[in-house]
Every structure is written in C-alpha cells, then in structure tokens.
C-alpha cells in the first residue's frame, strides 16, 4: 500500500494539525476526524508515517489496541489503515519548524518548500529523544563507538549496519534490552548490560526474553566510570555503586569492547512546547495538561512520548485518542469540559498525567512509581478512590480509570496520588 500519499495541495487553514505520525499522531488524527473535524493535516519528518515503531521490528505490540501480537511496523501499518480510511492529509518528509502562539504553523519539505498555514487546534505528538552521554557526564576520552541504543537500533533494523562487534550496554531501558537481543542475533558479542539502579528500568518481560534467554549478564547497581580509546572505543571501566549511587572506583574492572550503547532514558521532545511557552512539568519533562490533554495554551494538545514516556505503544494510542477527539471539539468550537479537580504525585509516585481532571467526563490517570513494591499495593486518588493492585514497579506505568461519579463532591479539590504497600496501610 502506498502510504506516503502526499496531498495534492496544502490548504491554508486546517481544523486540526497533528505534528508527528507515530502511534500518538496516527491515533489523534483519526479521533479528530471521528469527532467531526473535516480538514485534518498530519505531518511527519520521516519519509514514512509510523515514527519509532518502524525500527522496532520485534513483536509484543498491539495486544490491547488491535487484540493481536504484532511487530512495530505492523502496528504502524494497522494504525495507518485507520487513517487512510478517513480523509486526512498526510505530509511526510516534512518538518514543523515553528508554531506561533496564534497557531500559525511553519512547515519545511523538499517537495513543498517552506510554507505557513493556520490551524484551529494543534496536537503535538513529536515523541521523545534519547538521553546522551552529555546528560550523564561519563568521564574519559571521546572516541567513536559510543552511541545511543535507539540510534543503533535504527542502524541495524532500518539500514542493515552493525554498531560494532563487541558491545557493552549502559542502562537497562527497554531499547537497550531489545538491542542486547537484536545484536546477539546479529552475531555481535554483547558483554553485559550495566544498570546504575538496583532494579532494571525496562519491562520485566524484556529482561527475561532479551537477556536471560540469551545468557547476557545484567549487572545491577553498577555503572561505566571510564571510556578509553583515541580513535574507536577500546576499553571501558565499570564499577559498582554504593547506596548513594556513588561509584566505588577501587572495585572497578575493565572490559575490552569496541562499542558502548547508551540506554539511559528518554526525554519528551519539548522543542515545540518550549517555542509555544507551554507550562512544563519538570517531573515528566512534557507539558502540563488537562484531562483532555490540552496544554496551558488553549487549542494546543499533547500526546504520546512527548507528553510523558510510555512503556507501550498501545497506551499511547489510547491516550492520544482523547487528545485528538478534544482537538476536534475545540476546532469545531464545542464546549470544553470543566477542569475542576487537580491531581498531584504523592507517596512513592514520580509523576501523574494529566494534571487536572473533570467532574464532567470519564478519564484515565496514568502515573509511575518511584520505588518498586513487590506485594499488594494500595493506590489512592486522594479520598475519592482507592484500588488494590498486586505489585507496582517503576518501568510499568500504572493507570486508573476515573469516572465523573468518583469525583462527585471533589470539585475544587487537589487529589494526591499515592502508592503504598498494603501492610503499611493497615498498620
């Protein structure tokens, strides 16, 4: 199927413009259309829609959204089919470089040149970028061969090149775990995955399926303390860390390798958010949003990893549907749901999205815990709601469905989200 059908001519005004055609953008565009908005534009910088899914050639996607276990590109394809059924203008190879606060969008593409258009509402679905060596200041030399895991994934899966022959992976994020397996299958020696924290930061199923099944060692509470090599990486030094995460250099050891992959976390791509001067949440790195994912600038919505880092594409699609539908409503001038309840992270909660709730509609609250709790855990939404779950761990996002009924009588309040071991509750 040709999936890069460029619109014959760009309109000068759209109801809804969606920036980014990953799972968030694809889902938001469809939802906006289903809501009745007519002129919808979706823009992506890559030659094909799909975003980061296109380089995720492993399976495990779609169980919730499509009720089948598919690979990343297949997921993208299924999501794109929904877009193509609708009448959405899809523009690829195109960058949105600027958006002004009165929602004038500047686009650049080799096919269409540089143009500007106006939009009724805007959905930012530009995804995330990877944290780099600069973010964690690994001391040592600066040879070639230090690469983020996501860039390595792109090199291997999309372009057919290997990042090296003997690799060490720093950080146990999902991309790093997936790449440990991928590289092993490609014949690269993966000498180990090193994680600063006492627990893996990727999903449990990935630790089992990508490391344990391939006998790749995972060293917890251990980090890289030095990089050697004038030209290409020749050797790295790793060391255990103490309880304050300070490396114990006297216990360090060297590993000969030519490649160091970094899987040390994703950060929302807040470039447009910053340009638009949106209020940002320092905990997520993404914008502050209402229950319909509307940011502090009316008419601008955020969805996907650019709002907060998700662990599953399926969650992204669902969350973006709310954003897209509301973007459609706003473009059509419909009533906005009141945002009359505030939520904030409380005990053992790293962040909560969205930041406000409405007593007028149903919504989902998503959050991440700071420390794992490997037993019965009580989740609280202030005094409005509580729910018991079996366990919570930082890599896995926790969600709570919140109906208007639950919020009855809490209008104007601030609700704290807590995740507490059940035994502590009872004592």
């Amino acid at each position: 199927m040709p999936i890069t059908s460029q619109p014959r001519h760009l309109l000068s005004r759209y109801d809804v413009t969606v920036v980014g055609a990953g799972p968030a953008g694809l889902s938001a565009a469809v939802a906006a259309r289903e809501q009745g908005a007519e002129r919808i534009l979706m823009v992506d910088r890559d030659p094909e829609p799909g975003g980061i899914l296109l380089q995720c050639i492993h399976s495990g996607f779609g169980l919730h959204e499509f009720k089948q276990d598919v690979t990343g590109p297949e997921y993208a394809h299924l999501a794109l089919e929904r877009v193509i059924e609708q009448d959405v203008d899809v523009l690829t190879n195109t960058y949105v470089t600027d958006v002004t606060r009165d929602l004038r969008v500047k686009l650049m593409s080799p096919e269409a040149g540089i143009s500007t258009l106006d939009t009724g509402s805007l959905v930012i679905a530009t995804g995330a970028r990877e944290r780099t060596r600069a973010a964690i200041k690994i001391p040592g030399e600066r040879p070639a061969g230090v690469m983020t895991a996501g860039l390595a994934q792109k090199m291997v899966n999309l372009h057919g090149y290997l990042p090296g022959r003997r690799a060490v992976i720093l950080g146990s994020g999902d991309i790093g775990l997936i790449m440990a397996r991928r590289l092993t299958l490609e014949g690269v020696q993966v000498l180990g995955v090193f994680e600063l924290l006492p627990f893996a930061s990727g999903l449990g199923r990935n630790v089992v399926q990508c490391l344990q099944d391939f006998d790749i060692p995972l060293h917890l509470s251990t980090t890289v303390v030095d990089i050697h090599g004038h030209q290409r990486v020749e050797r790295i030094a790793v060391a255990p860390v103490d309880d304050d995460l300070v490396p114990q250099l006297d216990k360090s050891w060297d590993i000969e390798c030519d490649t160091l992959l970094l899987s040390i976390g994703l950060i929302p791509d807040a470039e447009l958010a910053r340009q638009l001067q949106l209020n940002l949440d320092p905990r997520t790195g993404g914008p502050v949003v209402t229950s319909t994912m509307e940011t502090s600038l009316p008419g601008v919505f955020a969805a996907g990893n650019n709002l907060h880092i998700n662990d599953l594409a399926d969650w992204v699609s669902q969350e973006a549907r709310a954003a897209g539908a509301a973007a459609g409503d706003v473009a059509l001038g419909r009533h906005r749901a009141r945002q009359d309840v505030t939520v904030t992270p409380g005990r053992n909660v790293a962040y909560v999205v969205p930041h406000t709730l409405s007593t007028e509609r149903s919504q989902t609250v998503s959050f991440r815990v700071k420390q794992p709790i490997y037993g019965d855990t009580m989740l609280h939404l202030g005094d409005a709601h509580k729910r018991k779950v079996r366990a919570v761990v930082p890599p896995e996002m926790v969600t709570m469905k919140v109906s208007p009924k639950l919020l009855d009588g809490f209008a104007g309040d601030t609700l704290r989200v807590d995740a507490i071991p059940v035994e502590e509750e009872e004592s």
Binding site: M108, I114, T132, A134, M147, M155, P163
Partner: protein
C-alpha cells in the same frame, strides 16, 4: 608528493597559524602545500579554546605575542568580512573587585592606549552594573574594551583554509609528518625532504606550525632549542537558557601568571566559563576533571554569582602549546629553509593573521620571491546560515534549491544544502560537518541527524557507509553485517 615535485613552501600543521599563513601565501605565484596530521584542518588546539579575539590590551608590547595581538584582531575582522564565519564584536569588561585591582586594570588600559587600542573606557561600579546587571555587587569598577570579539575558531580556520585552497594551495590531510631528511652535505641549497606516514614531500621552505607537536617537528629538522609544555585549559558550556546573563566577555583582574577565569557569550548564544591553566605531560590529555570544574565555577561565581555547575551542557579541554620560553618562537633556524612558528599559546588564535604576515616577510627575507597574482580573490561565498534568516529569505532559497527545505538537523535547523556546501568546502567526516555547520551539536547530540549526515558523506565521496568516519582513520561508526551463524535463545524464543 611521491614525485619529484618541489614545492616553494610546505606548511606543517593546519591550525590557525598554518591556515592563515596558507591563505597569506596564496596571493603570490607560489606552489604551497599544507600538511595536516588529522583528518581535517582545525582539529588541533585551534578547535578547543575560548574562541576570543582578544581586545589586545593585555599582553605587553615588549613581547612578540603582545605585538601581534592588535594587528591580529584587525586581521580576523577583515577575514570575517571576506569569508563570513561567525564573529561577534561583543567587547570586554575587565572587572576589579578591590582597590588594588582598580589600579591594576587601569594600568592595563593605559598599556592598551600605548598599543593604540581605541575606545577603552574606565567604568564606575554603577556604570558596570548598568551594562552587566548580573555581575557581582562587589564590583568596584571596570575597564571597557570594545575591540574584543567572540568567534567560532574552528569554523573560521576551516573557511580560511578553504579560501587558501580556492586560491591554489594544496591542503593535504591525514599527512602526519614523521621525519625530515638531514641536509644534503653536497648541496646545502637542496630542498628539504619531509616524510609523512604515506608520502614524501619536497620543499624549498618548510614552516613548522605544528602546535603541540612543534618541538617534535623541530627535532626532525635537527633544531633542538625548545620544548612544548602543554598547559591544559578546561572549558564549560552552559544551557542556552542562561543566554544573555552576560553580553560581553567578562574578565577578572589578571594575576601575574594567568588571565583567570572568563565568563563569556559564544557566537551561538551559549555562555562559556573557563579556562583553567594546568601544565600536563600528555599531549593527548584533553580530559576534564572534577577539580577543574570546581575551580572554574568557584572563580566564575566571584564575577557572576548565579552561575552553577548544574547548568553545564557540554565541557571540553584544550592544551595550550606553551614553549619553555613562554613567548612565541618565530623565525628562521640553523637549518636552512626551516622556519618555526612554535609555542603559539594564548593569544595565539588572536595573533594568527598578523603572525601569518610576519611569516611571509620572514620567508621573503630568506629568499622566497613574492610575485603577486593579478587575480587573487580574497573573498569566498559566505556560508548560508539558514536558521538565522527571515522566513521570506528562507523561502526564496528553497525555491531556488529544494535542498534548503530539507532539514538534516532538527535541533539546530541545518539544511541539506548547508551540509553539501560544507562538504564542497572540504568536510569529509562527521566531526568536520559538525564543526562547520553545527549539525549534531544540539540537544539530541546527533541522535537524529547522524544517519542523514552519513548518507550524504558517503554519497559525496563515493564511499560506503562503513567507510564514513567520525574524524578520520580508525574512527569508524558502523560496520557491515557478517555472515555470522544466528544465535538462538535457549528456549527457542
């Protein structure tokens, strides 16, 4: 090269000194080649420094570096007009924090006046804080020197080398000089034979502009009268958020041994603090250290109290090629035809264009005939800085060449056309592209643009993707898949 060709001048080293000399010589009918060890020019000391064209009031007029400073300052401004690299005339504020320092900075100002530096002013504390409100309240007064500029030293040196090439100079990279043959006893006028790892070059004159390694090159020529003692300087770049916290180069009152820690805006709008000054043994030791950072930030906070380590976004260290005489070593040597331009420490960058003119005079004195070309072009098309243009101009460019509408680097807004232009001017490695255009210097540090750049580099040079390097031999980025047997998981998954 391998043939019998005899060059009029061989320049060893493609830093600020080598490149400005190459360009100065390019106006004459001469065969000139510049031999550079690294994959591209400006990958040595001239890449990692404060990037300041000094006001020229600091160095004593009794030293050679003091003499070259102001003409060098004027030289860079002219080169900026001719070639279009980034240079901002931001000026210098030299700050006194007590009465003793007030006296000292006025002495420096008077020295500047004697050297002919125009426009300096003595400022009261009030006037100083008016101009730079984020300075410490402790300031007692300052000297204002409008002549100081900030620039992109690597971009400047790369464009100067390119201008030399356009005017006929051969720029030969990955040519590490490993030896110079002894003089021919029969024929003392015979050209010098310079050997690199791969080639042999013969030149009537050889200029040693090899920066940190100038003592090794001099040894090869049998000249053993100085040593280069690398003096490390660590520099820290702060988040763009702090842009504007100071708008000129802020100098502390210098001590007898060092100019001290500066706080300055860069051409790209970030704030830089540094450098340290520490003598090291290893000419490759460009590591940054915790002690270095602590020292830089303690000192910087004495000038601008709100500056914090937390805002560091990048750091690097450079090594000043300091000679054991502490001054520049410039001139002919006992070895006929072999001329030194060594020990070029700070303000070596500033002085380089004037040093180049001086070297031309020295070469003439030594017998090089200078016959000016009729059609020497001092200018070159200025590189387009797309992200700094208004939308209408961007649109006009994109209509002419759609590659101006193809973004390669999102963080810095760099287009395919700019990357291609940089390659046409000699960039052939990822670092070469980065330093010329800023691709990959932004927030994502190349996560997005690396592949696009690699494709363009491969296409432009007719090489394969695995042959593309970060900065030359040995710095490969990816390799080909092997036909490895596929490993399977224990449980078949």
């Amino acid at each position: 090269m391998g043939d019998d060709r005899v060059w009029d001048v061989l320049i060893i080293g493609g830093g600020a000194v080598g490149a400005t000399l190459a360009r100065a010589l390019s106006r004459f009918h001469l065969d000139v080649a510049l031999l550079e060890w690294q994959a591209e020019v400006a990958f040595g000391v001239s890449k990692a420094n404060s990037g300041i064209v000094h006001s020229a009031m600091h160095a004593s007029p009794d030293t050679l570096k003091g003499k070259l400073e102001y003409p060098g300052n004027l030289g860079w401004r002219q080169l900026h007009d001719e070639l279009g690299f980034g240079l901002n005339n931001v000026g210098e504020v030299l700050v006194a924090l007590d009465d003793e320092q007030l006296v000292r900075i006025e002495e420096i100002r008077q020295q500047g006046i004697r050297k002919g530096i125009p426009g300096t002013q003595a400022w009261t504390a009030e006037r100083t804080l008016d101009a730079q409100p984020n300075l410490t309240r402790e300031v007692k007064g300052a000297v204002w020197a409008p002549t100081a500029c900030v620039f992109n030293p690597y971009e400047a040196v790369m464009l100067v080398a390119d201008a030399a090439r356009r005017n006929g100079v051969t720029i030969a990279e990955e040519q590490r000089v490993v030896g110079i043959d002894p003089p021919d006893a029969e024929d003392p006028d015979a050209p010098l034979t310079v050997r690199t790892e791969t080639d042999v070059w013969r030149g009537r004159f050889v200029v040693n502009a090899a920066g940190l390694f100038a003592d090794d090159i001099a040894e090869f020529a049998g000249v053993r009268d100085f040593k280069i003692l690398p003096r490390k300087g660590e520099e820290y770049l702060l988040d763009k958020r702090l842009s504007g916290i100071v708008t000129s180069i802020i100098f502390p009152c210098p001590s007898p041994i060092s100019k001290g820690t500066l706080v300055n805006p860069t051409v790209d709008g970030t704030i830089m603090v540094g450098p340290t000054a520490q003598t090291v043994d290893d000419k490759f030791d460009t590591s940054t250290t915790e002690e270095g950072a602590a020292q830089v930030f303690t000192n910087a906070r004495k000038l601008v109290p709100t500056i914090s380590e937390r805002d560091i976004i990048a750091e690097f260290a450079g090594l000043r090629p300091v000679s054991d005489t502490e001054d520049f070593i410039v001139g002919p040597t006992d070895r006929r035809g072999f001329i030194n331009a060594a020990g070029i420490q700070s303000p070596g960058l500033t002085g380089a264009p004037a040093l180049a003119d001086l070297l031309v005079d020295i070469l003439a004195d030594e017998g090089l005939e200078l016959d000016e070309k009729d059609h020497w072009d001092p200018t070159a098309p200025h590189p387009v800085k797309f992200n700094q243009l208004p939308t209408e101009e961007q649109q006009a460019l994109a209509r002419r060449d759609p590659r101006y509408a193809h973004l390669i680097c999102r963080c810095e807004i760099i287009t395919e056309a700019e990357v291609r232009d940089a390659m046409d001017r000699g960039a052939h490695t990822l670092d070469g592209l980065k330093f010329r255009t800023r691709v990959g210097m932004g927030r994502c540090q190349g996560g997005f643009c690396t592949w696009g750049c690699m494709q363009l580099l491969a296409e432009h040079q007719g090489i394969t993707i695995p042959e593309v390097t970060k900065r030359g031999t040995g710095t490969w980025i990816v390799c080909d898949r092997d036909d490895h047997p596929v490993t399977t998981a224990r449980n078949g998954g």
